[in-house]
Chain length 500, copies 2
């Protein structure tokens, strides 16, 4: 077994020959990959955390410009990995080469976004000048600045092998903040993780920073994850994945003496509201866009439009267009056998529900490539059975007809927390539904007008999160400049001597 199929700790690839190994599933070939990877042992996990802790003083001692330069070098190194990285990830995830090339560029841009933010002085200090003449007592000078929290555990996602994985948003924002990272890689694409981890450590070396500021742990068992977040030196957790896994991690975190933040970005059904009054041809065009948005990533984006609310009188228009689009859409493999299994279980349950009927689907004769489908229902079915508002991770969406504003308000009240929701309609329709939209704001992290939920801008005004269970911390975003704030905390310096 090659060393690089083990753990990357303090810049050294290490593998224990006696430990369990795992092989990723290659979805397009529907077979196990040709390389086995070793699961991290408890001792290796502890060593990785210890190395991260030891690198903290050097990393927090860097200037913003030095961290910006580090992020730029990681971005450059990702591009240098070239086609071999894309080809390996394509094998490991089954995602199209074009999509992967785009996602890598997004990941590069994300690293550069944080570099730019650091150069622009983000986050700014709050400064209040001394006022020796204040009555009844002088006002001391106060400066509120920010310090990094310490070593961060980052959990990669299966559905974005670059943007939410090894060098993804959590790692980029943690390093930008000055926090060392111990990365528990997603076992769906271990080879990708290893190549990217090497690129990160090379960048650290290039900038004379300790290699222990980034460590990679592989594993396909919960034990690795739980042992990692139990470590006292870990001061925050970044996670992208399923609610069930996040809940299990939360239980372990609750056992710690010191409470630390868990930033888990989960999922949601991202309700799409077609407001009344839209001409039928616009409803048809919107339906085409919603189908494409759902088929993007084959329903495996956390912002996939999973529930569409349509005026009951126009629902047949939606069905008709959806049939045309889906009929021609190719079936795709899902990311992992586990996701396929869960998806089949969920869709089997939905198929038995008398309140749902299938109105459109594509075609597949390969059981590893499930068909995409749209199921029709009524808004009252969703209100009465909130389990229908649980995310289905895969290419299934529900279309529900509504009759009146009261229907809409009742559904908003029944909604669990959402990452996003889109409202589709002209200015008049929007004005007429202000009460619905105002209530909807309190259920979502991002409210979108007349655009698809998929596609999350890298921006200082982005918020990618939302009320539970869309995320575990409604105050935090996993995308955009403010993601860095998750790994910083304020420090007030009082009566600071003037520097020379």
């Amino acid at each position: 077994m090659s060393q690089t199929n083990g753990q990357l700790i303090n810049g050294q690839w290490t593998v224990e020959s006696t430990v369990p190994t795992f092989r990723p599933h290659w979805p397009l070939m529907d077979k196990a990959g040709d390389t086995a990877y070793a699961c991290a042992t408890d001792a290796q996990i502890e060593q990785a955390v210890s190395c991260a802790q030891q690198s903290f003083a050097a990393l927090r001692g860097t200037s913003a410009e030095e961290r910006a330069a580090l992020l730029d070098t990681i971005a450059d190194n990702l591009l240098v990995l070239g086609e071999p990285l894309i080809a390996l990830t394509h094998r490991e995830t089954g995602l199209p080469v074009e999509r992967l090339t785009g996602e890598r560029m997004r990941t590069v841009n994300q690293l550069r976004l944080f570099a730019q933010a650091l150069r622009e002085g983000f986050p700014q200090d709050e400064v209040v000048a001394a006022d020796p003449g204040r009555q009844p007592l002088p006002l001391p000078g106060l400066r509120m600045t920010h310090l990094p929290l310490g070593p961060v555990a980052v959990f990669g996602a299966s559905n974005f092998p670059y943007a939410f994985s090894t060098a993804g948003g959590d790692t980029a924002s943690a390093l930008a903040a000055g926090c060392p990272v111990v990365h528990k890689a997603h076992p769906a694409h271990p080879g990708t993780n290893a190549m990217v981890a090497d690129a990160i450590v090379a960048a650290l070396r290039n900038h004379d920073l300790p290699a222990g500021a980034f460590n990679l742990l592989q594993g396909n068992t919960p034990e690795v994850s739980h042992h990692l977040v139990r470590q006292d030196a870990i001061k925050a957790v970044g996670f992208t994945g399923s609610l069930a896994v996040a809940e299990a991690l939360r239980k372990t975190l609750n056992q710690r003496d010191e409470p630390i933040p868990l930033y888990a970005e989960l999922g949601s059904v991202n309700p799409q509201w077609v407001l009344p009054g839209m001409p039928d041809e616009e409803v048809a065009e919107l339906t085409r866009q919603l189908c494409q948005s759902m088929l993007m990533g084959y329903g495996q984006f956390c912002t996939s439009p999973g529930v569409w609310l349509v005026p009951a009188g126009q629902i047949e228009t939606v069905f008709e267009q959806a049939r045309i689009v889906l009929d021609k859409a190719p079936a795709c493999a899902l990311l992992t056998p586990g996701i396929l299994h869960s998806y089949q279980q969920q869709t089997d349950v939905l198929a038995l529900n008398p309140q749902l009927s299938q109105v459109a689907r594509n075609h597949s004769d390969n059981p590893a490539q499930p068909y995409a489908q749209l199921l029709a229902t009524d808004v009252h079915a969703l209100i009465e059975n909130p389990r229908l508002l649980d995310e289905v991770f895969g290419p299934t969406a529900l279309i529900a007809g509504y009759r009146c504003t009261e229907d809409m308000l009742a559904l908003v009240a029944a909604l669990p927390g959402q990452l996003t929701s889109s409202v589709h309609g002209d200015a008049q329709a929007i004005a007429a539904h202000r009460e619905v939209i105002d209530a909807l704001q309190y259920k979502v992290g991002r409210l979108i007008y007349n655009q698809m939920p998929t596609g999350v801008e890298l921006s200082r005004a982005m918020h990618h999160g939302g009320p539970y269970p869309a995320s575990s911390d409604v105050r935090s975003t996993s995308v955009g400049t403010h993601a860095m704030l998750r790994f910083l905390r304020p420090l007030c310096i009082q009566n600071e001597p003037l520097s020379d």
Copy 2:
């Protein structure tokens, strides 16, 4: 029993005649107060939360100016309560009238600080304009704004009957954010809580806001507190008090389906570092100031200087001055019988420790008014026995001699999280100890140069919190403008139609 000795729910005083009651202890007279107060029942707690939830839509629908006006009216009403409020609080807490008059003014100023921040547009939206020409895809307009979390449970403290109680920083910042409040009042001063609660509800009525936006629950048992934070509609908890109580609340919060933030501001020993090279007469003057700071609130401020680090060669100078100051200092009653009991237990343990010796004390022949004391030890005793770094809530401080920078670095490494720490020395001494001070930053919420830790400015640059166990959420402050952010969360609005 008078109705006002029960709960204030939705603007109505209600009392269940069959429930347990409690009487506060009047410390100066060392006897039970003349009024009994009823403990809130489970049904009353649920009703209070339900009323808070029902008021949320109205409160979140207010403009920043409307909330600012509400806070100003609450401030005015506190002043209108005049001398009768001060006299009642003086009986309930034993705190001097002058101190209480000052603390009420601080509380008034705190309400006005949040009003001013709202009028200044705090917190600002992040706005990124649309760029239809961006390649490869147009950039949609993005605006990141803030929404209130929902009903907040606020727990009052015993040691600040105004500033950290009914209309204190947690209530003021929650209402400023647009969050309704259910206030679990501290049982040490129930009459004060009731008068202040009436003033808040009068202000709500004055501004045509629902009275249910503020509710008061009395009780002297843990059950009231735990049943309150269990309620699903509660979306955040503000708490000021002891680590033990906060830990118990955290365990209950961990049982909830939805994780919500617990903002517990706890305590610490606030280490005071006398750097080498200070002339003896300055060390003597600094010792006088440290004694006064510790005697302020008779050691019952969370920022009380509890551990002083002094160059070993100057420790006798400190002892000598401390003896002079303490010898003349009057003994005082502690706030509650519970605090007195805990303080006696802790000081009894310290008295048995052979690594400690008493070097200064004042005099008291009243067991309800314990003497203040300074205990001498060595920095290595603190490093080897970190329990000596636990907060003693009352008038005891430890003075430890150190010999070298290595001693200082080792103690910083052993320190648990602190609210504050002060460094005393001239520019040369500070420059020579940059490594110690840099490391110290990572253990504190506020780093102070050449000033006492007591006295927390109301400012947008203040941070009053700190690494665990100084607070349960290192990212949050309970004092200053940014305290409002605890009860807000971001919302991104994408492609928002231009308003008329």
